[in-house]
Structure formats: C-alpha cells, structure tokens
Amino acid sequence: MSFNLTLIAQALTFALFIWFTVKVVWPFMLRAIEARQKTIADGLAAAEQGHRSLEASRRQAGEAIEQSRERAGEILAQAEKRAAQMLDEAKQAARAEGEREKAAAKAEIQQEVSRAREQLRDHVAALAVAGAEKILRREVDAKAHAELLDGIKKQL
C-alpha cells in the first residue's frame, strides 16, 4: 500500500468521467425520459378526456332516446285519438247518409203513391163516366153534364 502519482492521475480520470456524464450522458437520457413521461401524461389526460366525453355523449344519447320515446308515445296517442275521431266521423257520416237515403226513398215512395192515386183517380173517374155513359147513354148529354162530372172527379 503506497501512494504515488497514480492518485492524481486517477482523480483526473474521475473528473473527466464525471464531466462526460454530466455534460453528455445524463442530459440525453433525461430528455428522452422526460419526453416519454410527458407523452404518457398526455396520453393519460387524453384517455381521461375521452372517458369524460364518452360519459357525456352516453348521457346525451340517453336523453335523446328518452325524448324520442316520449315523442313517439305522444304521436301514438295522437294517432289513436285521430283514428277514434275519424271512426266517429265516419260513423256519423254513414248514419247521416243512411238517414238521407231513407228520407229520399220515403219521398219517392210518397211520390209513387200519390202518382198511383192520381192515376187511380183518373181511371175511376173515367170508369165511372164510362159506366154512367152506358147507363145514361140515351138520355144524358155529355156536354150538358160535363160540369157535374168534373165536380165528381174532383171529389174522388
């Protein structure tokens, strides 16, 4: 165990190595590690952000679905109401139409009846006149009794 100049030479080597590490090795590595740390932190932040926006859009989607469900219900109810209304209207229209048809038929029947009666009346009058003619052929003058006959016709 003896000291010699090696002591100082080794100290110089040591100083050189430290200088090399401080100036060259460490900053390079530190830069890479720090950049990676930043990348990772950014990635985590982005993931967090994505998570949050996913949550938000899920909530939004839920709201939209809820809204449209409500709207669909409304539309369904409206449609049902409308259908019932239309049915009612149709019924009403049908009933009215029926009434009208019935009335028209009745009126026609009435007309027919009155026409038939008129004809009948004419026929009866003619028949009566014809009968009376046959009975009274000799003594009754048609011209002289026309007034009388008209009077009878009217009474029928």
Partner: protein
C-alpha cells in the same frame, strides 16, 4: 509463473500483487501505476461509452432492450439520489456524478472476476512482468475517488453556505455557538473531515483487496495438483458467486456515500 522454474507460493502471491510501476521523476511518489491507470481508463471509457452510445439514440417512444437496460440503471441511480439529495436540481451534477461513480466502480470491481493468470499470461509474453487487473484494489484509485468526493464536498459546502458560513459551521457546529465550545467543535469537524475520505476509500480498497487475495489463495491450492485444482474450482466458483454480491454492494455503497456526503455538504446547521 514460467515453466521449469520452481513454484513458490510467496513468489506467486507477490508476483500478482506487484504493480506495473513506471517512475516519472525523483522519489517514490513520482511514479505511475500503469496497469491501474490503463485498466481503469479503458473499462471506464468502455462502460461510459456504451451508455453514451445507447443514450445518444435514446427515443422517448417505446425503448429497445438496450435502452431499457440503461434506463433501468439510470432510474435506479436517480431514485437513490432523489431519496437523499433535496438541495436543488440533482440533475445538474449530483445524479450524473453518482451514475459515474457507480458504473465506474462497478466495472473496476468486476475485473476481479477475470481469471488472473489468464489475463496476465499474454501480457507476460509481451514482456510486462507485473500487471494487476483490479484498479479498485489499488489504494491510489480508491483514494483518488474518495478525495475527489471530499474536495467536491468542501466545494459544495462553501458554495451553499459561503466561505463565512462554512467557517462558522466549523467552529459552531455540532455543539453550539458558545466560545468555549469552539475548540471541541473544530476538533470534531476535523476528525469528521479526515474520517470521511479514509473510511470511504479504505472500505472499497479493503473489500476488493481481500477478494483478490482470496482468489490468489484458491489458485495456490490449484497449484498443488489435480485434486487441489478440483477443490479450487469448486471454491473459486463459490467465492466468485459471493463476490458478485461484494462487487455490486461495494459499488453501491461507494455511490451512496458519495451522494450522502454531497447532500450533507449542502445542509445548513
């Protein structure tokens, strides 16, 4: 050992504990342990260069296997430093310094795993008759590191508190401001300033030196014959596996103490 020569245990051990020393001036101090210097600089440059090579192409995206390994290492160090050093931006100096200390000491310690006679043999043929491959088993290395940290400690202490603040602490901490306590305070601080680099350097040196010696003793056992070789292989494997723990643990302790000393230097009392 060269063939044909009488094998001698003392010679063997001494041979492997001799540095390749080149004198550069007058006196015992003015010489360099060439083996320590070359080995430490070479493997240090290799390790730090490898880390630099990986880090240079580092991507902030998905890392490859090599990058993930280096990141693991750097984050391990950074985690330790983060737990101890709370006095400003650790990235400016303390954390990279800790990385340097850990990696360099680790690879220097790990040289102990190489089978010494196989490492030394080709150098022997090249005419280098002494070569110690474990730089941390050289007090010069461990004290160079510990004293560098010690100087940094004083530098940061003065930088954090000012020269006045540092001198004030030398006299007024840890016992108190009373003038009667100035001398005890100074004495205690002096002991602390001496003991810190001593324990820092000697702990690493002692562990690595002992590890080297135990390997040498096992290889001595191998020199006794076939049976001895088999026993040495088993024991050598056991010691090498245990030594992995020591190598990593000593590098870790050296790094942690460096960080602790530098953190303590920033603290105000």
């Amino acid at each position: 050992m060269a063939a044909g020569k009488e094998f001698n245990a003392t010679d063997y051990i001494q041979h492997h504990l001799t540095f390749l020393t080149k004198p550069v001036g007058e006196g015992g101090f003015w010489s360099l342990n060439v083996d320590t210097l070359i080995t430490s600089a070479l493997i240090g440059a290799l390790a730090m260069g490898a880390i630099w090579w990986v880090v240079r192409g580092a991507t902030s995206g998905v890392p490859g296997r090599r990058q993930a390994f280096v990141e693991l290492l750097i984050e391990f160090i950074d985690e330790q430093v983060k737990g101890i050093f709370h006095h400003g931006d650790r990235n400016k100096f303390v954390a990279p310094a800790a990385l340097t200390v850990f990696v360099w000491v680790l690879v220097m310690n790990a040289m102990d795993f190489l089978p010494i006679d196989i490492v030394v043999a080709p150098l022997e043929w090249m005419g280098l008759h002494a070569w110690r491959p474990v730089p941390t088993a050289d007090v010069n290395t461990t004290f160079a590191l510990a004293l560098s940290v010690w100087l940094l400690m004083i530098w940061f202490s003065i930088a954090a508190k000012g020269l006045g603040g540092w001198l004030h602490e030398l006299y007024c901490a840890p016992f108190g401001k009373n003038p009667l306590l100035w001398i005890p305070n100074l004495l205690l601080n002096f002991i602390e300033y001496v003991s810190k680099p001593l324990s820092h350097a000697l702990r690493l040196f002692g562990n690595m030196y002992a590890g080297e010696i135990i390997f040498l003793l096992l290889w001595l056992l191998a020199a006794t014959g076939v049976f001895g070789s088999l026993v040495a292989v088993v024991f050598g494997l056991g010691w090498a596996i245990f030594h992995i723990l020591i190598v990593a643990l000593q590098a870790y302790i050296f790094m942690m103490l460096t960080v602790v000393y530098l953190a303590m230097a920033h603290e105000h009392h």
